[in-house]
Amino acid sequence: MKPVEIAKGIYDVGVNDWNIRDFHGYSTHLGTSYNAFLIVDSKIALIDAVKKEFADELIDNISQIVDPRKIDVVISNHTEMDHSGGLARIMHRVGEDKPLYCSKMGQKNLSLHYPQHFNYHAVENGETLSLGHHTLTFMETRMLHWPDSMFTYVNEEKILFSSDAFGQHYAGFEKFDDRMLDDIMPHAKKYFANILLPFAPLILKLVEQVTAMGLDIRMICPDHGILWRKNPGKIIDAYVRWSRQDAVRKAVIVYDTMWHSTEKMAYAIADGLSEQGVAVHPMHLRKWDRSDIMAEILDARAVVVGSPTLNNGLFPTLGDFLTYMKGLKPKNKIGAAFGSYGWSGEAVKLLTQELEGMKFEMIDPGVKVQYVPDEKAIAACFELGKKIGLAM
């Protein structure tokens, strides 16, 4: 990917990872990008490095604008290796003695990743750095989404380099929101649901702080995907909405099945929900990636979970999914469980306990059916769907 000038003297020198499909267990159907930014002024600054295997491509991109040795300062907004893996190679080219700006937690975390003794400069929240014409302000944004996370703001251009926040896993030739319009929003939503959701209360606090500061933002440049230049307010508003976890009349039915019995139950529950006018998404755990399911769950009011009983326990994919969902801490959900069994039938009880542990409001003890659901059992599932719909 060639460098793109995003404002006078400011370039996106990042790279596209076109073919990645599994990003630490998150499905990236359209690949992703590792954005990095170069500010050319009296002093030259590089913001963020890229994943290790793309370091040479980043150096090539920088070299199309300036000799990398002319870079005066490197800034690390986030320690995670898709943004710091290239640091050792970059610092070697830029000059090992050049200052590496990061947050206090960034210094701690980078030194736990890399043995090199970089010339760290740990910034205070609100500290500024003048590059000549441009002044940078550093804002600590701890746990958005790692302890080290920070934003870098260019005062004159009103550009916010927001690290992973407001990002989307998307690789394309389009670099800006105005080229993608609403097509980018599902990717931004999925990113929020899978990366930022556990920290939703912090996001609301941060937006409040930024609003109180009267910070004017003309462009938001995250480290993944497109840059928000036409309407940065749109993604901020979406983050507020997603952080509040306002739900719509939607139910996600997450299930697995061995001989289609639990699946028949899922479809009957879906019919009951539909009758109540609820948008319903039955999602089979071996057909849908966990990250796509979470994107759907983000604004759903109900999550209905089904599992066959396998050897006195849950079907294994449910263990994967429930562990994943628990860590993401979804709030304000109602739930119910269901499943088919052969002889012992523990799954519904186990699912109910798990969902209760996540503070879901359970609206029914759940429906369990021995072997294959008959007409009566299907009717009970339909009624469960209706009951969930009425509870919304």
Binding site: M105, P147, L202
Partner: protein, 52 residues
């Protein structure tokens, strides 16, 4: 002595262990930690902790 959990990252302050890296000796009650103390994992404020 009560243990306290960081509501931001999940770190648990155990009075029996203290937080020696930040100068908090083992045996220090959470209530007796100075207000300027921060979560050693994520840097959250003392006020962001809740009783376990």
């Amino acid at each position: 002595m009560d243990r306290y959990v960081c509501t931001v990252c999940g770190y648990v302050y155990d009075p029996a262990l203290g937080d020696p890296d930040s100068g908090i000796k083992p045996g220090t009650r959470f209530e007796d930690i100075p207000d300027g103390w921060e979560c050693p994992v994520c840097g959250a404020a003392k006020s962001d902790f809740e009783k376990e």
